[in-house]
Symmetry: C2
């Protein structure tokens, strides 16, 4: 049976490091602060907001919510964003998306100051991921996958890593982060042929296809580490499932993240980590 790479242990370790960093910052008169810019009351957003608030509180990071009505104009929205960009007490900004259709999301996204882009959604943050420089921040889920590999001491240098999925929030950035860690990375996607042979040959498989339980035993081989980024509600089984057929995988591979309880929870902690890093960068 595979070793379970539980997110909880990674979160605890991150929390303790962050608590220490935050108390040092506070001793210097700096309170790392996350601003959340929300339009409307979408349940997904509210649930993520509650999670982020709780995780921030645990380590001493302040949260400031700017909630705008659904009929906010583009001008008003961008005005609020501009204020947060300029507000010296705000370290990082989380901009909930999608935005209502009357607001140009690309415009809004790239107006966000890269040094406060703790969610890694601006072009400059993505350029930083690609070039391996501190222009902004990596998308949180991609970095969460890396944090789990690091916490569990999974060797990456010279290892073969295969990423299934090429989205900008996870597939492409995690491929770059794995490459910066000196893994030999292959990116698979919907047009890939012979995918099962490619993934079987890997040491590390990051599954971010967004296709529930699509990766079964034919994709896997002994000795592998599997990071399952997917999370979907399986109405037949009446539970949350990942992109991997967990029961098949855990009989074959060395280590795997459970769903739920794997990557998901770590993602919020990475957001908080970025807020603290942003505060450190802005004050150094």
């Amino acid at each position: 049976m595979a070793k379970l790479l539980k997110g909880k242990d990674v979160v605890e370790s991150l929390n303790s490091k962050l608590t220490e960093q935050v108390s040092k910052l506070k001793a210097d008169g700096i309170t790392p602060t996350l601003a959340i810019l929300r339009v409307g009351e979408r349940e997904d957003d509210l649930s993520y907001e509650r999670g982020a608030k709780k995780r921030c509180e645990q380590v001493g990071v302040s949260v400031k919510v700017v909630a705008l009505p659904m009929d906010v104009t583009e001008e008003e929205y961008l005005g609020e964003l501009d204020k947060l960009n300029k507000d010296l007490t705000v370290s990082g900004i989380l901009m909930f998306r999608p935005l209502p259709k009357h607001i140009d999301e690309m415009k809004a996204r790239n107006m966000l100051a890269a040094e406060k882009d703790v969610d890694g959604c601006t072009d400059l943050s993505l350029a930083g991921v690609f070039t391996n420089t501190e222009l902004g921040f990596a998308p949180c889920t991609a970095e969460a996958a890396m944090e789990i590999l690091k916490f569990y001491n999974i060797p990456l240098q010279g290892k073969k890593a295969v990423v299934i999925g090429r989205s900008l929030v996870i597939g492409r950035p995690v491929a770059m982060l794995l490459m910066h860690a000196n893994a030999t990375v292959t990116i698979c996607h919907t047009k890939t042929t012979d995918i099962t042979a490619i993934t079987r040959d890997a040491d590390i498989v990051v599954v971010a296809s967004g296709q529930m339980e699509s990766v079964g035993r034919e994709y896997l081989s002994e000795g592998q580490t599997v990071i399952d980024v997917g999370i979907s509600y399986n109405s037949e089984k009446n539970k949350l499932c990942g992109d991997v057929k967990f029961d098949e995988a855990e009989e074959i591979v060395d280590a795997i993240t459970p769903v739920p309880g794997g990557v998901g929870g770590v993602t919020t902690s990475i957001l908080v980590k970025h807020v603290v890093e942003a505060a450190i960068r802005q004050n150094s």
Copy 2:
């Protein structure tokens, strides 16, 4: 014997398309113009400048050279760059690098307006390559490799492509461009183990390691297309050589770019293509 993927034929085809586009633009009163910003008289720069000028003239693109002395201050340099950014008659800017040490190159590079960054050196151009959006332009050598594959009708979708090298001027961007063309891409680098098995398994191998004649028969297999991006002077053989052992490769693979006469010449044409594209984008 492998088919030779000659750059000359690609250049001729590009030239004829560009000539047509430029005469249409001129009919509308627009003359695509490349500004070259050069410090000092380095032989490499002067030689590239002559090549670019000639290629521009062939298709009707104007060239404006701003030559500054080696002791130009950072302020003066950035001032000239700012003028070119704002000059409505300038479509694209080629900024020769490296800059003298007293000028902050990163600052200069990112001051360059992305929409005029025909050499693909700004963070926004690289973000565009990563996200597959028209923020700036791809680095010319990376796009030259793609143009050759396109001209010779080498199928990419669903094919395995391996890139040797992960630099920001060629390895990383060409990997992204291949992925956007739906190839399954693996990026190999100095920390990759078992590299010969990985490259032998590919349909397309792009070699950009910068190591002269480092890729021999053990890396290759039948049916492959090889793009050799390297170019170095081999003092023993008294000639220019690529990163591939050409004599060994041409006996095995299906198709290969010669060195010289392959990627190199196409790169300058891509620069000119970018100038014309910049003029079109700026006037649409």
